[in-house]
Symmetry: C2
Subunit: 234 residues, 2 copies
């Protein structure tokens, strides 16, 4: 293969990764901002975030398009192929994070007229934790660094524990005061959305490992190619 | 391209579609059965369904693997490319349906010890509706038939309306009797999961249209390639 062809391919791979990082930073910002609108009850910003989600959909479609085109034109193998496949799957995970953030912003609007909301401290802490995990795993991807990605993967249990706390706390409020039930029901979904964003950070961690080493995460119980499959929590 | 190569390619495409249909029927069966375990409070079957979800994960990974391999080896264009890309994306949607069904089965276990459950008639009706929509759209895919797929797409509002009813009904029970709160909270998530399975049926309808015509669904407000993107509800 002539030198210039290899370089053009490398340039395309770098462009793909750049778009993925741009998408990642937007997803982190949307998640943080969505939780913030819930905590500060900022309906105007929530509406803006809902509109901005279209940009994540566009980037996901763009990255998929480029990935498939790259595979068809270049027939990459081994690490190059893994890099393209991982980019496509990471983009899908980020697009889902965007959907979940958008849904949180919608619930800011749905609860705008409700009594003072409950359990917001827990929700805020959960939001900060998952946004920072998502940011950490994107940094790991950017640095091609498996160990920091695995650190995010190993710490997913902390997000799950916070979710279990939020679930119990919200039910306790509901039982103590029926006037909190409607808002607390929406907040149950907000907490669940944040837990799922944590799962997507974990999926991305697995994809970083897969991209770099071709291996699934030890103990994730999945064969090699299955590391590409999404985590199975709903 | 020699004749036998074209035939081999066609054979591969048919095999891909066959696996997709196999996966689709399994997904429909898992959704129906999961709702049934909730209604009949059948913990043993719920446990079996949770285990069986791994088969949907395996089929999704297998279909993605085959699709990417096909794109790299054959460089399909136009309708052939759309057929492969649609198969890969439909498999991801079915895998998500499986996750959501698995989550319903887990909630059958979580509520096994609870007081008599509430709103089960609504949940059962919703489950039957989304399972039949999912089945309809898979039949449409199998027949390469755009119109029946669009019929599923247009009727998604009925699923959404049932979800809104279920949400309100469950909140009413919670307010009337705090002892129902824990089980009703789980059932809120079951109803949401079913609504999202309805969204996946709608996504698949768009992918059938895309595969056959290369067009996005009229009025879905998306440019061509974006028809591949997932629906944006969380």
């Amino acid at each position: 293969m002539p030198e210039h062809t290899v370089s053009a391919f490398d340039t395309e791979l770098v462009k793909l990764d750049d778009e993925l990082m741009q998408m990642g930073h937007l997803a982190v910002a949307q998640v943080s901002a969505a939780v913030e609108t819930m905590v500060t009850r900022d309906a105007a910003t929530a509406e803006r975030l809902i509109e901005q989600d279209a940009e994540l959909d566009r980037l996901d479609a763009e990255i998929e398009h480029q990935s498939i085109s790259l595979i068809a034109r270049r027939q990459p193998i081994a690490q190059d192929l893994r890099r393209v496949v991982a980019a496509m799957r990471i983009a899908h995970n980020l697009e889902r994070c965007g959907d979940l953030a958008k849904n949180i912003a919608k619930r800011t609007l749905a609860t705008a007229e409700a009594e003072p909301l409950v359990a917001l401290t827990t929700i805020e802490r959960m939001g900060q934790l998952v946004a920072s995990r998502l940011n950490d795993v994107l940094e790991a991807h950017n640095a091609n660094a498996v160990e920091p990605a695995l650190a995010v993967w190993r710490r997913d249990k902390e997000v799950d524990a916070l979710y279990d706390n939020a679930f119990r706390e919200l039910l306790t409020y509901m039982m103590a005061d029926p006037r909190t039930i409607t808002a607390a029901a929406h907040l149950l979904f907000v907490a669940k959305n944040l837990e799922r964003i944590g799962d997507h950070a974990t999926n991305i961690a697995e994809l970083v490992q897969y991209r770099v080493t071709g291996e699934a995460v030890p103990g994730s119980g999945r064969p090699k190619w299955d590391a590409l499959a999404k985590r199975d929590e709903a």
